[in-house]
Symmetry: C2
Subunit: 128 residues, 2 copies
């Protein structure tokens, strides 16, 4: 019997060259920045193991690994707030993905369009 | 003598309410998405512990914790490719920051404007 896939025990589904390029954290995850493709708005950040990335690359829908629930989570299955994949890129050192999507409705579970809306911190503004 | 600050041993510098809102990974870090403020282009993703966030919020310049070098890294000190802080937001569940900046030159150490340029993965495009 095959072992159950998990971030610590990913199935061999990704292209081996891509799998070798991923720089995973201790939990087997890379960060996934999700961006609205036509406005460039940053919607949210999620986490992906090899299996979540495989599903995202092959299905047209974004799937994350939920660190809090410890399970796969295909965005929109419960809320209807689907993320349709437009493109996926891996950064220079392999620990971050940029997923460009068409977001249906609110990206945030709190109901705001993005997970950063209205959550600004006091910061000193820099200038040259 | 005070202990040397590190991700595992942050100094008590952040506002306690903010420090309590951070959901750090096992290494004491949160993800920091860096975005060009006027084009919304996603430039790179870095990592911050409490001290790096404190420096970023108070100095007008972006400082990361380098996971590979295990040291603080103020963007641009070596390359000249400074990131001037425009705004900082923390997401709904406290594990990701959105840092809007004015980026001088290339954000990527490879010389490309962003760390995602020219690094697209083959992906199935989704549609409603």
């Amino acid at each position: 019997m095959l072992p159950t896939p998990s971030p610590q025990n990913p199935p061999a589904v990704l292209d081996p060259e891509l799998a070798a390029a991923l720089k995973r954290d201790d939990a087997g995850l890379v960060a996934a920045v999700v961006q609205q493709f036509d406005t460039n708005q940053v919607l949210m950040l999620g986490w992906m193991d090899d299996e979540a990335l495989h599903r995202t690359l092959t299905s047209g829908r974004v799937t994350f690994w939920s660190r809090s629930r410890q399970e796969y989570w295909r965005k929109g299955d419960t809320s209807g707030h689907v993320q349709w994949v437009k493109s996926v890129a891996l950064d220079c050192d392999g620990d971050a993905l940029l997923i460009r999507v068409d977001q249906v409705g609110a990206a945030c579970h709190t109901g705001t369009r993005t997970c950063f809306d209205g959550r600004e911190l006091p910061a000193v503004v820099g200038a040259a």
